[in-house]
């Protein structure tokens, strides 16, 4: 573990930079930062499942996507306002995950992976084919930036601050969740499901609630994404998006909140940065996937902690990819 005070200072410093710096940035870095924060929320939500509960979901994009579609449809068809969209988007993610969870939570390990993949395909199929509602592959464009009372978030900087506030709220709430007794039980389930069951915990219910909570935060990210991007298409719900989010979590470090946020930032930056310089960015992204698994299987935060704990001759490893076996 990093020294408590040092860690808090580092977090405050990064947070301070995120608040102070943006007005001095030009448009492009600002959009990157906004994108990074949105995906940070998405990645942290997935980590609640993957890192804390030990459930590797291959269909997390479904909840991100369904919320984004709700925002796109409500704003373009019904000119719905900010709060209406927020409530409906989160509700859509909750209802969808509560339904899918009934099917998925029964499965463990690799079956859970396959079932979440398959369920997400249902959503993708509807987004892709239900053309009269979703406009299929063309996607829904023209989602306006939101206004909230007297404030308009049309301007890039204003929207950035909206994203930052949402990110901080999500971070705080997730921190509360993982530090609560409920969060502790989730970690217990990750370490040993059987033991938790013997101790009298309702393992199924814990997993089910974690599944819905994770989907809700993914929906929050999707909600922001629809406004940010102004455009929603089946890309948002496809398998590759789900896997990319897994990569963000794995790269940063599963079982931490800072790790996935960091991973999201790195991947977003890399995708945008590399694609400017070369057409072969998919090749490089593929290399990143393989490199993370080969060289940083515990993620960046995990590698950092490992180095520090080696300094103290302790061998407590944070749970990482190696812990999430079938």
């Amino acid at each position: 573990m990093m020294g408590g005070r040092r860690r808090i200072l580092a977090l405050l410093a990064v947070g301070g930079l995120l608040v102070v710096l943006p007005p001095f940035l030009s448009a492009y870095p600002l959009t990157l930062l906004t994108q990074g924060l949105i995906f940070a929320v998405f990645a942290m939500s997935l980590d609640l499942l993957l890192g804390y509960t030990g459930l590797a979901s291959l269909g997390h994009a479904a909840y991100f996507g369904v919320a984004a579609y709700v925002v796109a449809l409500m704003t373009t068809l019904h000119q719905a306002g900010f709060w209406t969209c927020l409530v409906l988007a989160l509700l859509a993610a909750i209802v969808l995950s509560a339904t899918f969870g009934l099917v998925a939570i029964r499965a463990v390990g690799v079956y859970f992976l396959m079932i979440t993949l398959a369920l997400a395909m249902v959503v993708w199929g509807l987004a892709f084919r239900w053309v009269s509602l979703t406009q299929g592959d063309t996607g829904i464009s023209g989602v306006p930036r939101p206004t909230l009372g007297p404030w308009s978030f049309a301007h890039q900087t204003a929207f950035y601050y909206l994203t930052l506030v949402t990110f901080l709220v999500a971070f705080g709430l997730l921190l509360l969740i993982v530090r609560s007794p409920f969060g502790m039980s989730l970690r217990g389930i990750r370490e040993s499901e059987g033991r938790m069951r013997c101790l009298g915990y309702n393992v199924w219910l814990h997993k089910y609630l974690a599944f819905i909570l994770a989907a809700t935060f993914a929906g929050l990210a999707g909600f922001l994404w629809a406004y940010y991007n102004g455009f929603v298409s089946p890309v948002e719900v496809q398998l590759i998006t789900s896997v990319e989010t897994l990569l963000m979590v794995a790269l940063g470090g599963p079982g931490t909140l800072v790790g996935p946020a960091l991973g999201a930032g790195i991947i977003v930056f890399l995708k945008n940065f590399v694609s400017v310089y070369t057409k072969r960015w998919l090749l490089i992204l593929g290399g990143v996937y393989i490199g993370v698994i080969l060289f940083a299987p515990q993620g960046l935060i995990g590698a950092l902690r490992e180095r520090q704990s080696q300094d103290r001759k302790s061998s407590r490893y944070p749970a990482g990819i190696k812990g999430d076996t079938a």
């Binding site: 590797a56 099917v103 390990g109 396959m114 398959a118 398998l239 590759i240 593929g286 080969l294 999430d324």
Partner: protein, 284 residues
């Protein structure tokens, strides 16, 4: 009536193509418990290699052979050098095979460009024939025959040969198989190569039918997964039944409810999973 016959025939022929793809995936899964997201890439690369072979030599049977063999070698390389060290690490396997899938996708784009191609098939397999009022394309019939032949060969191999028996032993209980002297790592490598071979064979066969184009890898991958999930991981009979079911559901879904066609495919699968989480023929 014609509608039902034609659509059923189309569904069965598509199911036959899916069987080529999914039988390999289910075998790999059965022995090694690997969720291989690069399996669609084998289909893609196999198709492209077959295409190049037909362009160079004009020999379609040779294309079937070279495409599948080349990809089988790629599969061996992936298994030996990268996947073997990730035993039992599901998430790491998913991410690594995804990395390979992206690399294959981009390399194919670099080598073969972005245009869609159809592999030219021999004159014998072109055209169609008519039975009473219904027209059957010859090539679709060829796919059904090819998949049947592969299915029978696989069944004979798995049930009647010593190598097949060791594979079944490794599927049932890898540790126990190791304990009685079966070299499970070698079996795993062989099964991985066989799975890649079959997927690439599907790619060449499918190249004369749905074509080869960028993106076909991730288009067929979910289908293969659905077949394997519905049939049961690691089960050959499951792959047969799953392929036919998925082929038919997909075809009738597209014909009857075009807007909900993927829904009509994936929703019944979700129902099957809700009732039988291990699939129709899967063991726990």
């Amino acid at each position: 009536m014609e509608f039902w016959v034609t659509q059923s025939f189309n569904g069965v022929s598509y199911g036959a193509l899916l069987f080529l793809l999914a039988s390999g995936l289910t075998l790999i899964f059965g022995v090694m418990r690997i969720v291989n997201l690069a399996h669609g890439s084998y289909f893609l690369v196999g198709g492209y290699m077959g295409l190049t072979t037909v362009w160079r030599t004009g020999n379609f049977p040779l294309a079937l052979f070279t495409g599948s063999l080349a990809v089988a070698l790629i599969g061996i390389g992936m298994e030996r050098l990268f996947l073997r060290r990730l035993k039992n690490q599901v998430l790491a396997q998913v991410l690594m095979t995804m990395g390979f899938a992206l690399i294959f996708q981009d390399l194919s784009l670099l080598i073969w460009g972005g245009d869609p191609y159809t592999i030219p098939v021999p004159p014998l397999l072109r055209g169609s024939f008519r039975l009473s009022l219904v027209v059957f394309p010859v090539y679709r019939l060829f796919i059904i025959l090819a998949a049947t032949a592969v299915g029978i060969a696989l069944w004979l191999f798995l049930e009647k040969t010593r190598a097949g028996a060791t594979i079944r032993a490794a599927v049932d209980d890898g540790e126990m198989a190791q304990g009685v002297g079966i070299n499970v790592p070698v079996v795993s490598m062989g099964v991985f190569a066989l799975g890649a071979f079959l997927a690439a064979l599907g790619g060449v066969v499918g190249g004369g039918f749905i074509g080869v184009y960028p993106g076909v890898d991730f288009e067929v991958l979910p289908y293969a997964f659905v077949v394997v999930i519905v049939g049961g991981l690691g089960s050959l009979p499951g792959a047969i039944v799953g392929s036919l079911l998925v082929g038919l559901l997909d075809n009738f879904g597209k014909a009857l409810f075009p807007e909900l066609s993927y829904f009509t495919l994936f929703a019944p699968m979700a129902v099957i999973l809700a009732l039988r989480p291990t699939g129709l023929f899967g063991k726990v």
